[in-house]
């Protein structure tokens, strides 16, 4: 099965979410070999950047909270890792980028090698250093649109924007990105921030105290947002957030996602989660005598 996402062809319909197993080339390659049709690297900045000290990841009953803190080896080093993925797999190579200012998003997008990467995902959930309160770009539809335009003008690659679920105006943000030329939307980034406290020391379990929530706990929120976005915009959506089994992926696609994404699901099912979901999805469509394209957004047509 191959799926068109805008003008980009995915040979398999699952995408590895940014931030999971996305540091080294061979790590990403393993996920592609285990069935991901698209692989997104951990978000990269122009130059090397340190994240938060450990502990940065904590598991709880129904998911994970993390505050890795946007650590990055910089565009150059990550490009050499992405080249391994490009050379050895047929997966769509997605470079996730982040920056501190609107202009820097453009500079970073222009540094992404168009021969190695197939698509740029723009992570707008990072803090805007120019904002008085350091609010994330994703909270502001106008700035999110500006970032989209600047990124689009800096590369020939398709540009997709990864949205944050933490602002009620997410559909406005998506519309603004679409109006400024975005080729697609990834939804959602982590929910929160959330927190976990040790019951003996009463200290937060993350060094950063708070962190983004992922995993099964956020699935219904992610699904509702994909459903709302499908009505609000025409550009395609990668639906992610708590997908851990085939029924989750089917729901995402029925709500309007063209592709499904998995990140934390790997904690529960290993990297073969893609292979297993894809096989179950094929069976499901065969049983329903349905084409994949017919399933996309079907919940809106019933």
């Amino acid at each position: 099965m191959s799926i068109k996402f805008g003008n980009t062809v995915f040979l398999r319909n699952g995408v590895l979410a940014s931030g999971i197993l996305g540091v080294t080339g061979y790590s990403m390659l393993k996920v592609a070999e285990d069935g991901a049709g698209g692989v997104t690297c951990k978000s990269i900045s122009k130059i090397e950047r340190k994240g938060h000290p450990t502990p940065v990841v904590q598991v709880f009953n129904s998911g994970v909270i993390n505050a890795v803190g946007l650590s990055s080896t910089g565009v150059e080093r990550t490009t050499s890792e992405l080249k391994i993925l490009k050379d050895k797999s047929d997966a769509v190579v997605i470079a996730s980028i982040f920056a501190g200012t609107v202009e820097e998003f453009g500079e970073t997008a222009s540094m992404i090698d168009e021969n190695i990467c197939d698509m740029i995902e723009v992570n707008i959930s990072c803090p805007n250093v120019a904002d008085e309160f350091g609010l994330p770009f994703a909270s502001d539809p106008k700035i999110s649109g500006e970032i989209t335009r600047v990124a689009k003008n800096s590369t020939k690659l398709p540009v997709i924007i990864k949205l944050s679920p933490n602002y009620p105006n997410i559909c406005e943000v998506a519309k603004s990105c679409e109006a400024n030329g975005a080729d697609g939307i990834t939804a959602i980034n982590t929910l929160g921030p959330g927190m976990l406290i040790d019951v003996h020391t009463y200290k937060p379990k993350l060094s950063n105290k708070k962190g983004g929530v992922s995993g099964p706990a956020i699935f219904p929120v992610a699904l509702r947002i994909v459903y709302d976005l499908y009505k609000a915009i025409k550009i395609p959506i990668i639906g992610m957030g708590g997908v851990t089994e085939a029924e989750d992926a089917i729901q995402m696609i029925a709500a309007g996602a063209t592709l499904y994404g998995v990140g934390t699901g790997i904690l529960y099912k290993g990297t073969s989660i893609f292979k297993n979901i894809n096989a179950a999805l094929d069976n499901y469509l065969a049983e329903k005598k349905m084409k994949y394209e017919e399933l996309i957004g079907i919940a809106h047509r019933i």
Binding site: I20, L21, G22, V23, T24, G25, Y26, S27, L29, K30, E33, K42, E48, K50, G51, P53, T54, P55, V56, V57, Q58, V59, F60, N61, V64, N66, V68, S71, S72, T73, R77, E81, D198, V199, H200, T201, K203, P204, K205, S207, G263, T264, I266, L267, Y268, K269, G270, S272, N276
Partner: protein, 275 residues
Amino acid sequence: MKRNNTGYIVNIDNKIEKSYKLVEIAGNTAQKTLYFRIGKRDISPGNFFMLNYNCAQKPFSVSGYDGDVVGFTIQDRGECSQKMINAKAGEYFGLTGPLGNNFDLSKSKNALLIGGGIGSAPIKFLAETLVKKNINFSAFFGARSVDFLKYLFDLDKKRDRIKYYTDDGTYGAKGFVTDDLDEALRTGNFDAICLCGPEKMMVKAIEIVGGRIKNIQISMERYMKCGVGLCGSCVLDDISARVCEDGPVFSYFDTIVNCREFGKYHRDGLGIIEN
């Protein structure tokens, strides 16, 4: 690790951090062993835990477990381990684990265990387990000086098959843990080798073994951010294996022989290659 027949992990309880009181801290200035009463758990030699103390977190291999109390031997190797070895009994640590796989000597009748530096900690636990099961083994332990070996002296002293090596000759033979390996292999009738320690030592040991023993198991160490298989910091080049989830114990001839970085390089916390 429990998996059902499709390879799905069905139990994530071991990946959720719980805090335990440090019941005892023993040792000297070189290294300390920290003990926690964790109760009855499924813990095997080679397994590790993420230890979180005052918001400093690192992975440590289990150096002993008696079915109730688990021990971790920690050497001062930086800010985090320094904080931990200065902890006081009665303080709480966050423990995530047991994580990772374990040494498997179920098919071995006579194994040779080799530990170098702080890599001797999981080898000590393995030796203790073999003593309990009444399985034959020999063990070589190497360290800088006697102070770095003392925690190993709890091992059954009647065993005449344990040899110690120190760089400065303060205990056992002066020299390296690999010095007598060739001779031991010629006379020892070993069917398996388990290794943990500096990679240069492990490379040297494997070189001396040549093809003489096929069952070589090595415990790998890499920078880990999460310890639960998600961040990708500890993935080994070429073989795409996560040290935390697919290891830390690997068969040399099945996997590590194809690992480009073994004995050559590793990555720092950001993912930048260091030699």
